[in-house]
């Protein structure tokens, strides 16, 4: 099965042709996929770092004597609901 289906609507009926990716298109697809995977990994790492920092902040607040209810009121963005 070909990689790309092209349909020309200037003819009646439309002309359909199929072809494989050009080397340039294939290289771009590989680059896009790598960039997407790198961005997804970076986003996952960022979210993990944020979760760790959030947990540390909550632990610190508790060490000072704050309860979960007090933390939720004072820092509503710290506690996920």
């Amino acid at each position: 099965m070909a990689d790309v289906t092209e349909t020309d609507y200037t003819t009646d009926p439309p002309t359909v042709t199929e072809r494989d990716f050009t080397p340039e298109e294939l290289a771009q697809i590989v680059a896009d996929r790598a960039a997407y995977e790198a961005a997804a990994a970076a986003q996952a790492a960022l979210e993990a770092d944020q979760a760790t920092a959030r947990a540390a902040a909550i632990d610190h607040a508790k060490s000072l004597g704050f309860t979960d209810a007090m933390i939720a009121v004072m820092y509503p963005n710290l506690v996920e609901t």
Binding site: V4, T5, E6, Y9, T10, P14, Q28, D32
Partner: protein, 315 residues
């Protein structure tokens, strides 16, 4: 037998009606047309057409896959009566352009009609025509691509809208930006199989522009009460997607893509699932290239369905 100002034959007092049955019948038919059935159709299938006197009051359908040029003639060629309205309806894929002929004037300049668009022209005075419905003085016009290409999945064009589905990696529209319009609106609906952003690249003669750092965006995303901003420079324009059960709706504004020079881009995305999400990306593509199309990429989703419709802002 005599004829009216515009050449319609009629019987006079000295004529025997019984001697002119065809003329009498034609007159009765014409009265029926005007009174009960409208003024009739003039179906044209060529690539050029010049109005004739008999078109006054009629609807002219134009149907050709190639561009069609309609000429409004000067009075010495065809003297339509003042006040006559002629309606044009484009049935074909080829763009119809209605223009003044030599010695004639169409106030406001030429009119273009995409497929299934309609407009009317009024004969105002000697050699002078006007636009009856504001055609060409503003608003959005559907722009139909000359061809589409899809990698994976399926993509079809119907009534100016491209629909795509399945294991689609990308879908490209060619020949959709032209010199006819400067600015465009693209309505994009996407439903990816995974919560993953898509991307967009401008395209010239079948090749996407993926120049590094050429798509510069200022991004604002809002989820509940959390606002996030970012400046991105990339080889593509981001398409925010945060919904896999209902359509993400994107309104993209593309400024002067066909004109050689930088291209301003804005896309506003609404995405609602169990919550609601908003994304507004504004910025530019900094390459001095004339683009006639674009490609939408599914990004990280294995499957994506949706629609693409392009409109041009009338100059």
């Amino acid at each position: 037998m005599a004829t009216s100002t515009y050449g319609t034959p009629y019987v006079q007092g000295s004529d025997l009606v019984s001697a002119y049955p065809t003329v009498s019948s034609n007159l009765a038919t014409r009265v029926d047309e005007v009174s009960y059935r409208g003024n009739g159709l003039n179906a044209q299938t060529g690539t050029t057409y010049t109005l004739v006197v008999g078109d006054a009051g009629k609807t002219i359908t134009l149907s050709n896959a190639s561009p069609v040029a309609v000429t409004l003639p000067q009075d010495s060629t065809a003297d339509l009566p003042d006040g006559a309205v002629v309606t044009f309806y484009n049935l074909g894929a080829g763009t119809v352009t209605i223009s003044q002929g030599t010695g004639a004037t169409l106030n406001g300049g030429s009119i273009t009609l995409a497929q299934y668009e309609v407009t009317s022209v009024i004969k105002l005075s000697a050699n002078t025509y006007g636009k009856a419905d504001g055609a060409g003085v503003g608003g959005l016009t559907l722009c139909t691509p000359t061809s589409i290409a899809n990698a994976g999945g399926t993509a079809t064009l119907a009534n100016g809208t491209v629909s795509f589905s399945g294991a689609l990696t990308s879908v490209s529209l060619n020949g959709v930006f032209t010199a006819t319009y400067d600015n465009y609106r693209i309505i994009v609906n996407t439903l990816p199989s995974a919560n993953a952003d898509g991307t967009f690249r401008l395209r010239a003669a079948g090749t996407d522009n993926s120049t590094a750092s050429s798509y510069i965006a200022q991004r604002l995303t809002v989820s509940s009460t959390t606002l996030a901003g970012a400046r991105t420079t990339a080889d593509s324009w981001g398409i925010y997607q945060h919904n896999t059960t209902r359509y993400n709706q994107h309104t993209m504004e593309i400024a002067r893509p066909f004109v050689v020079g930088t291209t301003a881009i804005q896309n506003l995305t609404t995405s609602s699932d169990t919550g609601a999400y908003l994304a507004n990306y504004v910025g530019t593509h900094n390459q001095s290239v004339s683009y006639d199309g674009f490609t939408l990429f599914a990004g990280g989703a294995a499957n994506m369905e949706g629609t693409l419709t392009v409109y041009g802002y009338k100059k």
